[in-house]
Amino acid sequence: MAAISVAEPPPPLLDVRGLSIALPDGADRPFAVDNLSFTLNPDEILCVVGESGSGKSMTAHAVMGLLPPSVRLAAGGLFFRDTNVLTQPEAKRRELRGGRIAMIFQEPMTALNPLMRVGEQVEESLRAHTPLDRAGRRARVQELFAQVGLPNPAELVRSYPFRLSGGQRQRVMIALALACEPDLLIADEPTTALDVTTQKQILDLIRRIQAERHMGVMFITHDFGVVAEIAHRVAVMQNGKMVEIGTAAEVLNRPRHPYTRQLIAAVPHTMGQRAAFARVGEPLLRAEGINKIFRVGGGLFRKAKEVVAGHEIALTIHAGETVGLVGESGSGKSTLGRSIVGLMKPDNGHIFFRGTDLMTLAPRDFRPFRREIQMVFQDPYASLNPRRTVGDIIAQGPVAFGESPSVARAKAEELLGLVGLDGNAAGRYPHEFSGGQRQRISIARALAMGPSLLIADEPVSALDVSVQAQVLGLLDDIRRRFNLSMLFITHDLRIASRVCDTIAVMRRGVIVETGPADRVFGDPRHAYTRALLDAIPGRGWHVPAELAQCPAELAQ
């Protein structure tokens, strides 16, 4: 390997010249990437920012030579150290791929082969690109695992992916990418699927390794907080075109292009600016002493592993109040939400809704409460039945409760208007809508039942920032208009600070801190809350004042 790390040839490392990638006929635009030009220097982190569909991932895949067969390289060149990789034969490209250019993907849970030991998966890359023998490869893999901060490398190499957490898997992916000491690392949203605290660790790791090895890093993200953490230079893409490129300071603090300005304005930034919420009267919902333990694995002869999803949880929600339930994945937030809706039964405890203990009700007696408590789910792509029209989906609930189909249908159209969709959307199917639109449909579906409490389980985490801002705006508007109470479950503290009156911080099934949003964010008392706040990417960066003034919803 030493032979390769001789003095760098003159910059740039990667030179993209007039790259165009054609989409198949019938797509919403002719080019996924349209006449794109930029350079990436050695020893530099270039963040490529854009919303989904902007062509940023497509560009990365083109550099790797991993474009899906449905698209076509239409024009331009990709020069890696002065060689146009696009004209190279497949064998040469294979040498580059994984050898000189490596890539980390977004979803660590699915990016590793579930049937192979993780050490073996890293070894595979070494076998393809280096002359190391078996023992040499083994030693190198352990060295790499230690470098990326995986615990106990000697044993961990023999683990299968399913034994590792998301953060650990992403570390394995990074070790895999670094295996052959690449000159260029492409990271495609490598922290988007991770918790904030894990995200912080992975960002630190990438930054450290980049500095040590003087690699060029092309870092794809949609999160300006992450950009502020890590970027040397920033390129902003929209609809396959580059709209702005410059140093991190320039783009973050003095964005010129309207699209960049709009994206930055949409960044959730109003930490604790809400008016204090005044609780009146009895709480609408009062949960007490909720316990839930999941038993994982185990069998006739073996003790199961216990995961505490709820331990003596107490929570109140008043009429008109939005309570934010914040915590990392696996902390038990969703378990609590689902227990309140009645999708899951806690081991014990009480959930009083307007004075009735839901936990003691038989399914038949619970039924009237289903109208009262409705849920909006996280994944708008999976939560709508693909074979029913949108109108049916919305009308279904009221019809099940005895409303006449024609009335329910008319109301569905009205609700669609309310959530900002066209009335004729009722006759179409979910797949005809974008993620943000589908989430609006989900909200309309929940509203159709006329609930007084809405459980929103990560309702915007699958959406782009600007769409996020719109959907959050809609939720806030609806909440006010119908005086709805809301339990807002999220892992993103920036979002929680924008929509919640009260915050409950949850960790390993325990609510460690509760209080008004202002207080919790302004004066966190529990160490874990502080750790969560510290982990928010881009804490040192503030949205430029001129953009912070304009409400994100209006920046569209």
Binding site: M64, L66, R94, E95, L96, R97, G98, G99, A102, M103, F105, E107, T110, A111, L112, N113, P114, L115, M116, Q121, E124, S125, A128, H129, Y160, F162, M173, L176, G297, G298, G299, L300, F301, R302
Partner: protein, 326 residues
Amino acid sequence: MAGLARFFGGRLIKAVAILFAIVVMNFLLVHAAPGDPATVMAGEAGAGDAQFVAQLREQFGLDRPLVVQLGTYIGHVSTGDLGFSYRQQKPVWELLVQRLPATLVLTASAFALALVLGIGLGTLAAVHAGTLRDGAITVLALLAYATPIYWIGLMLILLFSVRLGWLPAFGYETVGAGLTGIAHLADIAKHMVLPVATLGLFYMAVYARLTRASIQEVRDMDFVKTARAKGLRESTVVFRHILRNAILPVITVAGVQAGQLIGGSILIETVFAWPGIGRLAFEAVLQRDYQVLLGIFFISSVMVIVFNIVTDLIYSLIDPRIDLAS
């Protein structure tokens, strides 16, 4: 290893319980059919008078209440005694042992052929999806799948035995040739070609279709992209990463079918006059030879259970996420 021992222990207990239920059900089913061996034997002996039939019944214990007969039978089976065939004047166990090897050789070869060819063709089709090669394989699989198995057998006999005279049309070996050693094995192999091909073709089609569909599902998964991003050769990506993950559903189906192969070979054994269990079963039904029939049922149940355990074992070897002990 302790996990493995526990797995076998647990499965053995379950297997015994299942076998008991099967034995009882088979016994009652067989006895629910009209007619009994005594009437058939009396009929064949040309003596239809009631006294003779009654005497035969008494001799074979057929006059006793069904529950008593069932108790006796279960008692015998649990000691490994499958009964005595009065028709053939031999212990059932001996009959089965005589016939079993022929069936096992036929079905095992057909099964292996089907798996290897099916997975191979399925992979080839999936890798070249949308091309002529894929189309040809898909059509072949569809034909083999949709054509009645006995008809394929008959057509193969017509072509290769009657027309071309390349292969023998029936039997297990050349009767009276007195071959030994290699020549004997070659003779058996020659007799096996047509029945194995006929039986294997159907299952091959199933596995080819299944493999193709499964690969198409796996090939777009993220870890396949990771494998490509490592700069691996396409063949390594296909075999090591795609196929290994895609093969799990094929194994599930194959495991179920492996247990059923013995039953499925009845048709083939009849078409090709193959002296195996299938033909024995067919004859036993015609002759109301309860003991033999029950013995065959018993053996095939054991096979199904064994193949289920083997399938689970293979599954756990391929997929580390499956924990045998749970």
